[in-house]
């Protein structure tokens, strides 16, 4: 039986066309209930086992004698509730699933995850394709009404279909009209609230997860004491109109990391970001929302604040206490938010701030403090205070009313006790959206047998070079189990060396399009936390079959050069190979072998050859202008595996590290050349954009203040300048300069060669025209793609379908995102361990000032490799007695001036006064700020020899001056805006 569905739609060209789709209605779609054999036998009869395998054969079926059919609004509003495993036996109609998909992508993805989980017994019934339940829209019926009717019809069918098995069917909907209409059909309808209250006797936590978007919040208002009243959001249709007319601008709001009362809106139509200051102007927008912003008159434009707000202290704080110091930095277009185009609310990790009796029963209103400082506090209700106080929990925002200072939300998930290492690590993974679930069964199915390398078949060897006779070895950090690179070198006469870099042949096992490939693609990288590693590939591959361990046969992808002893490459060969490593060395062991002249075995001599060659290559690279940068990396020592950190050590770099790095760079560059030659339009490469000169302005000035010449005209000059920055009495100064230079540059990114002109391929830091990642396929997905590209280029693998500029570009976007998140998580983990390390300790350490703000400065503690903020006031809204000089980045109070690069002594301890937000406190001990503050507080009138009134007058005067200057400036910006429009 078939049926035509048609509708009209508007094309891009503005034509209205008729779309006709043919639909086949089936009678063999199973109802999904275990007891119903009629459906099952019909289904088995019509499909062969092969097809059932396609439809994954792992579809949940329902078993209970009460099943629930959900309406769309229930899924859209109650997704957190639905993720609770105690809800089972639910039918999701395809009508509903499509509606969810079109309305909210992320909820759609979440409900799909739930459906995939067999234990949850969520069944998708394709009601639109069933001849029993399919309907066509009647003339005059709105699509919404039609879908509601489809849901009712399907429910009715289920009811009569399962009647003979005594299975009761309920329609769960919060749509009153739908409920009423279904009752008249004789369907048992319920609201989700009714259902949850029924189930809550067994599972009280369900109630908390219930989201109540329609509930009246007037009762709560009185608690919150705040009289804040936000402006009304303009409705969507007016917004679209206004955006089109250019009255308002659309963009994504990014709240300032250091100041939650300030945000920037990035718009396409305006060159500069639009600044939004103050909660009222932010008007209930949350970081990441797509907002509509209206510009304020230019006279009201502000400069971004340079203040670090101490604490997101919400209720107690005075409203709009935005500390303004617009005198010092440039004003920028400022606006207020008039509407929200699209919310981007996510579940947020955090804890509740609760100071009452945690054992009390009954309903409580709690304030939830997210970890992410950019997110406002969220008000939640709970009946189980004792269960969530002192815990890390996840909360989702439901809504934000005009007259409520903070949004309201509901409890989603409990992650574990506060401050617990396990819990906090989990929080990090959630916060940075790192996929860390165990590998699924479908992924594990893709794994080869563990003994596959013992039974290498001739078909595996096709096109593979047998290099098992070569003296191949690997050098890695101690304890490394996923060895993805190994080397060999031999002299071949005429002053030539043959050097081979052998990389684990991961793409041999991870075939494109398989479940394991999809999983790796979505993870994109292994994530290294201090105490754990989240693998990109299952351990069997990463730690065994792919790992190039010694004395076993392993598949590899080799890049073999013939190099003169002057480091000149005369020939290169790319080939798949099989190798047998003779030794897995650590950097330390290798270094000892090189240094110990008595060792003259083959491995040691080869190491020396490699080392010498590496030095030549390195020199060439440096001459081209490669930068050697630094990061304040440290390593935690733990007493036992998984234990708390007991000490910190600076990551020690040996000559051998540089040696291995040099050959890896060489391999990456040569592979990049090769794949770009064969796939000029879709090679996956890595570029490091040449930094903008303006980015270095401040640093240049600061370093030049120190008396050094600092040129950033080219990477070569920069490298030379950096080499020159050496202070006799302070060996760390040079490292500091390098660290700060790194921060002035944007990070390197993956991209597809088809999306940029060749000039932009350049890797600035490495000073090479073309670069890619080839050498770590076990822990990076881009390398796997590059391996596939290279295999295609040498004719080993057939060309894959997905090799297009578009797909590679998309892929690289995801890789860049995952890479960034992995770094954030790594840093977060270090911070967490630092916190744990300092618990109960109080240390005195040297520190360097790296940034100065109006009321604080940021210091770096080299010993522990972390940075923190030293506040000049202690949080009680004291007016700082220090004068802030933005241009020179100094803070001074006459007797002492703090400026960047100053070395100071700090005291470090953990402030655990607030249970839900423990953090490291850093106080400046030498020079002692407290004393200075004390002095300055007692004699506030004598700052810089000017009396307060004079000070104010001076302020006003300069402000007027500034305004005058800025009107000129803004006139120009205005013109600019106009022209860019």
């Amino acid at each position: 039986m078939q049926l035509n569905k048609f509708y009209y739609r508007t094309t891009k060209k503005g034509n209205v066309i008729k779309v006709v789709n043919e639909i086949y209605l089936r009678d063999d779609i199973p109802c999904g209930h275990e007891q119903c054999e009629i459906c099952l036998s019909k289904y088995k009869e019509r499909t062969n086992s092969e097809d059932r395998a396609i439809s994954s054969g792992e579809i949940s079926s329902m078993s209970a004698n009460q099943i629930y059919i959900l309406d769309t609004n229930v899924i859209l509003h109650q997704i957190d509730l639905l993720e609770d495993p105690s809800l089972k036996n639910i039918v999701i109609l395809s009508t509903v699933l499509n509606e969810v998909k079109s309305q909210n992508r992320s909820i759609y993805n979440r409900i799909k995850e739930v459906i995939k989980d067999i234990s949850r017994q969520f069944y998708v019934y394709a009601n639109e394709y069933s001849q029993y339940t399919s309907i066509t829209r009647e003339n005059g019926e709105s699509p919404n009404d039609r879908n509601d009717r489809a849901i009712r019809i399907a429910t009715d069918w289920y009811r009569s279909h399962l009647h003979k098995y005594q299975v009761k069917v309920f329609l769960i909907t919060n749509d009153k009209d739908n409920l009423l209409k279904s009752k008249s059909l004789g369907i048992d309808g319920k609201t989700i609230q009714e259902l949850v209250f029924e189930l809550s006797s067994e599972n009280p936590s369900l109630v908390d997860k219930l989201s109540d978007p329609n509930e009246d919040h007037s009762g709560e208002l009185e608690d919150s004491k705040s009289k804040i009243q936000y402006a009304e959001h303009r409705p969507m249709n007016i917004l679209t109109e206004d955006i089109k007319n250019g009255k308002v601008y659309q963009g994504i709001i990014r709240i300032n990391m250091n100041n939650y009362k300030e945000g920037n809106v990035q718009c396409h139509s305006i060159e500069k970001d639009i600044l939004v200051q103050g909660l009222e102007n932010l008007n209930r927008s949350v970081d990441g929302d797509v907002v509509a912003v209206e510009l304020l008159p230019e006279i009201e434009w502000q400069a971004p604040s340079t203040v670090i707000l101490l604490e997101n202290d919400g209720v107690e704080e005075d409203d709009d206490a935005v500390v303004k110091d617009s005198l010092v930095s440039k004003k920028q277009p400022t606006g207020k938010i008039v509407g929200i185009v699209k919310r981007n609310w996510k579940p947020y990790c955090g804890a509740v701030d609760f100071r009452g009796d945690a054992t009390s029963q009954g309903l409580h209103f709690l304030t939830f403090v997210p970890i992410d400082k950019r997110i406002p506090r969220i008000r939640i209700k709970s009946r189980q205070v004792s269960n969530i106080v002192g815990k890390r929990i996840v909360v989702a925002i439901d809504q934000w009313d005009r007259n409520s200072k903070f949004p309201t939300g509901h409890f989603v998930k409990d992650l574990g006790p506060l401050g617990d290492k396990e819990t906090e690590s989990k929080v990090l993974l959630l916060q940075f959206d790192i996929p860390h679930h165990p590998f699924g069964a479908s992924v594990m199915k893709c794994l080869p047998k563990p003994d596959i390398m013992d039974r290498v078949t001739p078909s595996d060897m096709v096109g593979r070079k047998d290099l098992r006779k070569e003296c191949v070895f690997s050098v890695d950090p101690p304890g490394c189990t996923d060895i993805d690179d190994a080397l060999h070198i031999k002299q071949i006469g005429n002053g030539l060396f043959e050097v081979g870099v052998h990389i684990a042949d991961v793409s041999h096992f991870v075939l494109e399009g398989t479940a394991i490939d999809d999983e790796a693609k979505s993870r994109s990288t292994s994530v290294y936390l201090v105490d754990r590693r989240i693998d990109m590939l299952p351990g069997e591959l990463s730690g065994n079959l792919c790992s190039l361990m010694s004395n076993v046969d392993r598949f590899s992808f080799s890049c073999i050069w013939k190099i003169t002893d002057q480091g000149e490459v005369v020939d290169v060969e790319y080939t798949k190979s099989i190798i047998r490593s003779v030794a897995s060395l650590t950097y330390e062991q290798a270094q000892i072998r090189i240094d110990d002249k008595t060792q003259n075995d083959q491995v040691s001599t080869n190491l020396r050859h490699l080392n010498r060659l590496a030095k030549v290559l390195r020199k060439q690279r440096m001459d081209r202008g490669a930068l050697s940068l630094a990061s304040p990396q440290v390593k935690f020592k733990t007493e036992e595996h998984g234990g708390d950190p007991s000490d910190v050590e600076i990551y020690q770099l040996r000559e051998t590290n540089a040696m291995i790095e040099e050959f890896m760079l060489l391999a990456n560059i040569w592979v990049a050349k090769k794949i770009h030659k064969h796939f000029p339009g879709c090679a996956l490469l890595r570029r490091h954009p040449t930094p903008k000169k303006s980015g270095f302005d401040l640093l240049t000035q600061l370093i030049e203040n120190k008396g050094f010449k600092f040129s950033t005209a080219s990477s070569k000059e920069l490298a030379e300048s950096l080499d020159g920055c050496v202070l006799e009495n302070d060996s760390y100064f040079n490292t500091l300069c390098r660290i700060m230079t790194t921060r002035c540059m944007s990070p390197a990114v993956y991209f597809s060669s088809g999306s940029l002109p060749y000039e932009d391929f350049r890797h600035y830091g490495l000073a090479t025209d073309i670069y890619t990642h080839f050498t770590s396929p076990i822990r990076r997905y881009p390398d796997i793609i590059v391996h596939r590209l290279l295999a295609n280029a040498i004719g080993m693998q057939s060309v894959s379908l997905n090799l297009e500029n578009k797909t590679i570009t998309l892929m690289s976007e995801n890789m860049n995102f995952r890479h960034k998140m992995a770094q954030y998580a790594g840093r977060g983990s270090t911070q967490l361990h630092t916190l744990i390390f300092f618990k109960g300790k109080k240390c005195l350490e040297d520190a360097y000032i790296i940034r100065v703000k109006a009321n604080a400065f940021v210091v770096l503690v080299p010993r522990y490799g972390f940075e923190g903020t030293v506040y000049l006031s202690d949080g009680h809204n004291q007016v700082s007695s220090f004068n802030y000089n933005h241009d020179n980045q100094t803070l001074s109070n006459g007797s002492h001036t703090f400026s960047v690069f100053d070395k100071i002594k700090v005291e470090i301890y953990v402030d655990d006064s607030i249970a839900h937000d423990q953090k490291l406190k850093i106080n400046c001990i030498e020079p002692n700020i407290k004393d200075m503050l004390l002095i300055s507080n007692t004699t506030p009138s004598q700052v810089d020899g000017i009396t307060p009134t004079q000070n104010i007058q001076k302020l006003i005067k300069s402000k007027q001056e500034k305004v005058r200057k800025l009107t000129d400036h803004t006139e120009q910006t205005k013109k600019k805006i106009k022209t860019t429009k």
């Binding site: 048609f6 009209y8 739609r9 508007t10 503005g14 034509n15 209205v16 006709v20 709105s142």
Partner: protein, 270 residues
């Protein structure tokens, strides 16, 4: 007998006609079996399939929106008719050059459309008529066995009655949003009832077949609406037509009108 028909077709016909019968068994006034169906082409916004004896035509209407030019709005038409006589329907037509017959028939059909008095408002895309629907009617002959005119006119009127259009709204210029909840039909106030004749010597043959058309000296097509008003009268031939013949022909068509009306109406019911 077949040989006789091939070699002396006119003589062959004369022998029949003198006995007031045609070679296919019809009397001079008999009309071949006529059938109309609509809605077969789902991609079109209106369609019909008409069969008169072995002659069959298919007609589809495509709709497009466009901004009207405001000069002489009264003269403007929103419906464009095109008739296609391709090689598929008969070996006498070639695909490379459009036949003159098809072109002259197309222009007749275009003028007929104006007789339908479809209100201007029915073509409004939005409420005010800033943007209008334009309908392109394409008629393809699938099998040619004479009297393409009657088949085309019936196909045209049936498919126009079958048209369903959505109404929409306009936002800014050039951006149309459709509001598909209600599809509407065109308000067609009149019918078109055609009948063609071929005149072979002194015999007047209703609904001529292909061969009859070829032998004829003159051809006559009359189209009336339900009020017996003449919508189209076309005569071509070597002899002037007499008043009586014309009068007789009108009577023949008038007798047929009820039947054609029921055919057109019942085709819409599905």
């Amino acid at each position: 007998m077949e040989a006789f028909q091939k070699i002396h077709p006119l003589e062959f016909y004369r022998k029949f006609l003198q006995r007031s019968v045609r070679p296919d068994g019809r009397s001079l006034n008999d009309i071949r079996k006529t059938s109309i169906s609509t809605g077969a082409i789902t991609t079109a916004c209106g369609s019909s399939f008409v069969k008169i004896g072995n002659t069959s035509v298919i007609c589809g209407i495509r709709s497009e929106v466009g901004i009207p030019s405001f000069e002489n709005t009264d003269q403007q038409t929103n419906i464009f008719v095109n008739l296609e006589l391709g090689p598929i329907c008969s070996n006498i037509y070639s695909s490379t050059k459009p036949s003159e017959q098809a072109m002259s028939l197309s222009s007749k059909l275009n003028s007929l459309v104006k007789r339908l008095d479809i209100p201007k408002e029915d073509f409004y895309f939005d409420q005010e008529g800033k943007v209008l629907w334009y309908l392109y009617v394409d008629i393809y002959c699938l099998d040619y066995d004479g009297n393409i005119m009657d088949a085309s006119i019936l196909a045209l009127i049936s498919s126009l009655k079958n048209v369903k259009l959505p109404r929409g709204i306009i936002e800014n210029t050039n951006e149309y949003y459709k509001d598909t909840e209600q599809l509407r039909s065109l308000q067609i106030n009149h019918y078109l009832f055609p009948l063609s004749f071929s005149i072979i010597e002194d015999f007047i043959l209703s609904d001529p077949s292909n061969q009859e058309e070829q032998l004829s000296t003159s051809n006559l097509t009359i189209t009336l609406n339900e009020n017996f008003e003449i919508c189209l009268l076309s005569y071509s031939g070597i002899k002037p037509i007499s008043e009586t013949i014309l009068q007789e022909s009108f009577e023949k068509l008038k007798n047929r009108i009820e039947y054609l009306k029921s055919l057109i109406d019942s085709a819409q019911e599905h």
